[in-house]
């Protein structure tokens, strides 16, 4: 089913069997761009409906994490941060990580959750997992803003490096979005995904330098850690927010891997998309 918008052709739409790898239909995505906006808006509106704290949850999650880890790793089993106060250090890591973990969880279940729509209406399906990811962007912004308050509390100065923060926020979106696309599409076929994702995120949390500095990783394992794109992203967050020393080879690897993951996500989604309505 390919969609042609050719000025020469007298037909607006030609529907025929498709197979294999499909190109991304940029024209179509552009025409439906408002729908993406509406889906994001819906997810944001709905997420905290009938909750007492509403958007407060966006702050509370990393805040509680900061308090627990802050207490745990300064008193019980001390971990030395890379210069900044440990609670500040851990919050800067938890902000992108909380976004990543939540986005992955929501995005991977988003298609199955929209089963009814997918069986009854045509629209670019890719917007469903992407919308779920973007909707969490608000939470990320709230927690970054809250980070500012925590920094003020510790009287930690803001450096011009903060200008680089958008790059790391973007890479966070690319990783969560790319993995979300793949996992949501796989979830249509194999519901195992639903059980794998929470376990996977939990393991990945410890493999990502969120509660410990990348510096503590032995040099021979460093590049391996760098292949985990969230490692470089978390590193980048600390660099931009706290001016922590950064290992740029890890950051560069992560940035490249995050773009690769997103592209793979886009194309594999397009391929798996063909059978959604029949399988979901």
């Amino acid at each position: 089913m390919q969609y042609f918008r050719q000025s020469m052709s007298s037909f607006d739409l030609v529907i025929k069997p498709r197979g294999g790898w499909q190109p991304i239909d940029v024209h179509e995505l552009w025409r439906y761009r408002e729908l993406l906006g509406f889906l994001v808006w819906r997810d944001i509106k709905v997420r905290y409906k009938q909750t007492l704290l509403g958007g407060g949850w966006a702050v509370l999650q990393p805040l509680i994490g900061m308090l627990v880890f802050g207490t745990l790793f300064t008193t019980v089993a001390p971990i030395r941060s890379d210069g900044s106060p440990y609670p500040l250090f851990v919050f800067a890591g938890l902000a992108p990580w909380t976004f990543f973990a939540n986005a992955l969880g929501l995005a991977s279940n988003s298609l199955v959750g929209s089963e009814h729509m997918i069986r009854k209406i045509y629209f670019p399906r890719i917007f469903v997992p992407l919308g779920a990811t973007f909707a969490l962007g608000l939470d990320m912004l709230i927690s970054v803003a809250f980070m500012g308050l925590v920094m003020a509390y510790y009287r930690w100065p803001v450096s011009p490096k903060i200008c680089l923060l958008p790059i790391f926020i973007a890479s966070c979106f690319l990783i969560a979005g790319g993995l979300g696309l793949i996992l949501s599409a796989l979830n249509v076929r194999y519901r195992d995904v639903k059980y794998v994702v929470p376990f996977f995120t939990q393991m990945a949390f410890f493999l990502t330098p969120v509660i410990y500095p990348l510096r503590n990783v032995p040099p021979r394992l460093k590049m391996l850690v760098g292949l985990n794109p969230m490692a470089g992203t978390v590193e980048g967050f600390r660099y931009a927010l706290l001016g922590s020393p950064a290992s740029w080879d890890v950051i560069w690897t992560s940035l490249i891997v995050s773009v690769v993951i997103f592209v793979i996500g886009l194309y594999s989604f397009r391929r798996l998309e063909l059978t959604f309505a029949d399988l979901i």
Binding site: M1, S10, F11, D12, L13, V14, I15, K16, P17, R18, Y32, E34, L35, F38, W41, R42, K45, V46, K49, Q50, H116, M117, I118, R119, K120, I121, Y122, F123, R189, Y190, R191, D192, L274, T275, A277, D278, L279
Partner: protein
């Protein structure tokens, strides 16, 4: 003029068992991977993969302004075709060429979020159906007025009654304004008055030379709304013509081959419904369509019906009458047709087997189930009577030609209405 939709050799197949095979888990996928080399030689495994053709070799040209009703039994492929045209699923082979914007309404209210308010859902649902934000804004008041849920606009739709929910959903869909509108069974919901409003809105769309593709089990709605009808059977197109002819074709050729088929001749000699004190004089009841074809299926309200009562006269007799009566399943009599009501009746003395033919030019029964009772009088006295000799299903039809399907009561009364110019006029 070129067609707005060209359907060419369209087929869609599913592999039987595909759902259970693919909609599985990694474990099953891995087991399949491991066992594949062994099952390949197994003939059984291959037989299970025989494709099932949901739609096969369909060729249709749809022209601008066509309103096409697609009818067929369950599983005939109606919805599959609409799903392919609305791009929800891919065809297996063949192609469809479309000119113009398609609006498809396979189910109203899809994409509604229960937590969001009516107002919010109008925007969300409009966007999902493919409307631009400015378009929704421009039509917002019209949509709300049409739906009649104005006072509850800022209430989450999860607190709506199902009727309000459907009305709001249809109101959005009805304002979609596509060049080609695809509708599946949406009229099965809502109250009668609102259904009529929707039909009106859709008819308005078709009169503005829009194109409509309509799937429904409501044959009356198809007949009154569509100018063209397509009948599908087992995924194949078996009829393409006017909607009236299509409905007739469906009722006579498709429906009857189903499970509902029965003989048009009912043997009455040992009928269980016979009043115990009577001797079996009545022998058979035969039912026919108005044109003489045996009635082996159901009949539509307002259709002509012919009943033949066959009975035996032991002695030469001048004065004898047959009657048939229509009862509700609970045994309430609706009306009786009696040969004594026939003014032009003249016949000589008869003996032996006789057939009384009763012609009902237009069956005045509200759609539903009925039982037919049969009786015989000799010399003004009832000598035989059978309750529930046959059953009859009366199907919905546009009896009054207005698109409103009568559903209340049992009897269809011929009636005319007009609005008096002044109240006093009525009495003058």
């Amino acid at each position: 003029m070129d067609p707005v939709i060209e359907i060419r050799n369209l087929s869609k197949s599913y592999r039987l068992g595909e759902r259970s095979q693919l909609y599985g888990s990694f474990r099953e996928a891995m087991i399949r991977g491991i066992t594949a080399p062994f099952t390949r030689r197994n003939g059984k495994g291959r037989a299970a993969r025989e494709p099932f053709w949901a739609v096969r070799d369909i060729n249709v040209d749809v022209h601008q302004g066509d309103t096409i009703g697609i009818i067929g039994s369950n599983g005939a492929g109606k919805s599959t075709i609409l799903k392919i045209i609305s791009r929800i699923t891919d065809p297996s082979s063949g192609e469809i060429r479309v000119r113009g914007r398609i609006g498809s309404l396979l189910e109203v209210g899809t994409g509604f979020h229960p937590e969001l308010t009516g107002r919010e859902n109008v925007y969300l649902n409009g966007a999902i159906l493919g409307m631009k934000k400015t378009e929704i804004q421009a039509k917002f008041d019209e949509i709300v007025n049409f739906s009649g849920v104005g006072p509850f606009l800022d209430t989450p739709v999860k607190r709506y009654s199902s009727g309000m929910y459907v009305r709001l959903a249809f109101a959005i869909a009805a304002h979609l304004d596509p060049e080609i509108l695809i509708v599946d069974e949406v009229l099965a919901v809502g109250d009668v008055a609102f259904q009529k409003k929707c039909l009106g809105k859709m008819a308005e769309a078709s009169s503005r030379s829009r194109t409509l593709l309509f799937v429904s089990h409501n044959l009356a709605a198809v007949e009154s709304l569509c100018n063209r009808g397509i009948v599908l059977q087992h995924g194949r197109l078996v009829f393409d013509g006017s909607s009236k002819d299509a409905v007739q074709f469906y009722l006579h050729n498709v429906e009857e081959s189903g499970a509902g088929a029965r003989s048009h001749v009912v043997d009455l000699t040992g009928a269980p419904g016979r009043v115990r004190k009577y001797e079996p004089h009545l022998k058979r009841l035969e039912l026919y369509h108005g044109d003489g074809r045996p009635l082996t299926g159901d009949v539509r309200a307002g259709e002509p019906l012919r009943a033949v009562v066959v009975f035996d006269l032991e002695h030469p007799c001048m004065s004898f009458d047959a009657s048939i009566a229509f009862d509700t399943p609970t045994g309430q009599r609706v009306c009786t047709a009696h040969s004594a009501y026939e003014p032009d009746r003249e016949h000589e003395e008869r003996i032996g087997e006789q057939s009384f033919v009763c012609d009902i030019p237009s069956l005045p029964l509200v759609p539903g189930e009925y039982k037919i009772g049969v009786g015989l009088d000799i010399g003004g006295c009832e000598v035989d009577w059978i309750d529930g000799a046959a059953s009859l299903t009366v199907l919905k039809s546009d009896y009054y030609g207005t698109g409103v399907i009568p559903t209340k009561g049992h009897f269809l009364l011929d009636n005319r209405w007009s609005l008096a110019h002044e109240t006093s006029e009525v009495y003058s």
